[in-house]
Symmetry: C2
Subunit: 517 residues, 2 copies
Amino acid sequence: MTPETTISATDPRSGERLDAHPATPPSAIPELTAAAAAACSDARLHDTDRRAAALRGAAARLRADGERLRDRFQRESGLPAARAAGELERTCVQLEALADVVADGAHLEPIIDRADPDAAPAPRPDLRRMLVPVGPVAVFGASNFPFAFGVAGGDTAAALAVGCPVVAKGHPAQPGLNRAVADHVAAAIEEAQLPAAAFALVQGDTPEIGAALVRAQEIAAVAFTGSTKGGRALFDLAAARERPIPVFAEMGSVNPAVVTAGALRRRGAEIAQTFVASITGAAGQLCTKPGVVLVPEGEEGDRWCADVAERLAAAQPLVMLTARMRDALVDQLADLAARDDVRPLTPSSARQEPGFRIDAATYETSATALATAPALREECFGPFALLARYASQDELLTAVRAFDGQLATALHADVAAEPELAQQLSAALERRCGRVVFDGWPTGVAVTWAMQHGGPYPATTAPGETSVGMTATRRFQRPVCWQDAPQELLPQALRDANPRGTWRRVDGQLTNASIGA
Amino acid sequence: MTPETTISATDPRSGERLDAHPATPPSAIPELTAAAAAACSDARLHDTDRRAAALRGAAARLRADGERLRDRFQRESGLPAARAAGELERTCVQLEALADVVADGAHLEPIIDRADPDAAPAPRPDLRRMLVPVGPVAVFGASNFPFAFGVAGGDTAAALAVGCPVVAKGHPAQPGLNRAVADHVAAAIEEAQLPAAAFALVQGDTPEIGAALVRAQEIAAVAFTGSTKGGRALFDLAAARERPIPVFAEMGSVNPAVVTAGALRRRGAEIAQTFVASITGAAGQLCTKPGVVLVPEGEEGDRWCADVAERLAAAQPLVMLTARMRDALVDQLADLAARDDVRPLTPSSARQEPGFRIDAATYETSATALATAPALREECFGPFALLARYASQDELLTAVRAFDGQLATALHADVAAEPELAQQLSAALERRCGRVVFDGWPTGVAVTWAMQHGGPYPATTAPGETSVGMTATRRFQRPVCWQDAPQELLPQALRDANPRGTWRRVDGQLTNASIGA
């Protein structure tokens, strides 16, 4: 086989090249997307119970094959065993949670306005609205969460849950894991008697394969987790289509955090310890890693920064996902270290062997430099953070306000002692992000109803949506209203009878009762 | 004053040129959008009660000045008196309904997941999420609903309701009405003690002014109602920004309707009568006008088509909004009439005097021609519809499936006698549109919770949203999650106490109670 037709992973821990897997030729895309579109009209895919069974079945299969999958996960990502286990379980829980959501019908957001001949300013007909699937979704898996944001990750789970076929492009760093996971999803789909075309895997390491997928006529939406450059490229392709389609790209961010003097005084050591854990866990390869921390000037701040630097200097070199990512970070850190307004607190990071290793690092700058130099506000993916020192509340707030859209931000403050400052910071942070964390770090994204994993551009291309949590389904649905429809032509969730007890807004009021009951 | 610095309307009924109004120079945009952005941080704009008061105040002012506004409306649009009155009242009701929605807090969609140290697969923090305003919104008014989709129309009402400042670009055909309405909105905003920069009007008839608005750094979203060409141009501009922003463009559609043999038999005359009213009302200048009707071949269908043609031929010439629109329709109809596969049933339409008049018209084609020739599926804005004849259910379904995204569709059927056909048609129609109307026509869009005014591209650029109804606010909001926030730093709607009785999803369950109550 030639390099064009196969892709192989490399074990990031050793640099060892692993087995080759077939790459999907771009010419195969049209058939896959046409089949996915045909599946949209298949009554089996409209059956909520079958879809829920497929999601639960996929979770059961992944758990049952856990040992093999976790081993493959580690070999293709270099991430540690505990992470493999935790992430696999999270992925299964996510599949099951979305099965629960659709079983309940909450994702349909049904609304019913009964006819009102006396309505002002005009009589109104019977109007019933709910959300329907948008059509086939292209899912681009991320390398840093090979399970949870991979081919059976949150995007795939959300799309399948609401009835959208998925064509998943696996991240090329993990072709073997992608194949193994996808085989389980496909088997679960077959076992649940859904159309086989409801799920397909494509693999490849060229831009052409992704572009062919985004341009495919039948694809109705794109979900992506990865770099700003990659996400924006897909967004631009999708916007330039004759029929543009939405791209839900989660593109990472700097996730600036603020530590106030009050917080330093009350729990400086704990903050330093959890911060170091937050930027070294998974070798800092998390889109929610706090990449910049604003720390007060003065002795207490100095001690805190020294504490962080010491803890990092004592850490072993960390394994990164790919050589490209490790090299990119080495270059970024060299560029930063060469700046007049930046001072390395740990020895400058270099390539470490074997595999793709690097030392965790932290550099120092001033909040004013951070506010004025865009290069200091760029994401450095990996085990690194910039500590920006501020001399006054004005300097701090100016630096916070210099930031663009972020996935998350964090505020460590002593709210009782600094109520006004905490209020000002909280307001400035929430304006810029999808999630504000208090007295903690943004790493660790719970899969719940209230989670928001998103944010204004450049954190994402769709600030109104989330890619994690129960409301992540909303991305792959669109509303349809039935006007004066006879009961038998209405979808089940909009009929008068409400046997599932779905919550619906009826004549303006929320109720889970049947109409006329 | 030179033509570059003023714009004037023309009375479409007479062709008389009306008074000149100042055009906004593109150079004035940065100051307006910067002021709008500053208003976003103003605590007054975060006050739901003030915003509701401003919306209600605007409605009261529009009603109080109704006589003058209706007269201006008629002179600048050529639309009849009854329409002026109905549309003004609808616009006021819309402003008041959105004030009610935000008073209730339902638009915030609050979700609370309390901390759970025992959660699987990992302990979870306290997570509280609600929707927040996206920032300043650019609203582009439509000419065919000078009140309801104008500078104080649904888009402006929805954006202001949720706390987004609005910079409204008035349609250049109605500069005097835009100014008069905008003055009332501005006065209501002042009376409610909101920041003055929460609303601004810009006017102009060059592409530059609209482009400057969409490109302005501070604008966070765009709402537009108008042509596909215009909407797509704004969408392309917004997507090409360094920081892309969403464009909610409602771009009209053909709104194909199906009449089955059963429906013809049961109520053919009524269907013909209401259809003619639907395509001649407002001179057919409605984005929900049924532009294509699929009618069975055979004697009954022939009689029905002849009935429609006769009714249209008997109608007086109709006044269109602008010379450009009238001329565009004349050209489109001439092109259609020249085709081999199209047969005019009424005399070919020509320009009529005085002002911008045209005869209502209908042409006939085959469903097969409709399915194969894209030109027959293009919107003809004005008092015209194409009757497409089908010989079989296959031919009918093939034609329906040839259609792209639509705002609305309609099905006239005898569901009891044709259950399977009705089911197939209903499924095919709902796949392609935002609203399916049964035994009626899509014209007339009620402003209620369940209304969906939107649809897949090219009907809109954002199929997941609506531009009419209570959920139209969703376009201008984005979710934010507060993690482990102290009560005093949470927005009111996310605190444990719930004095407004807002419905919230707490630990997965909907409730309007306070937490701990």
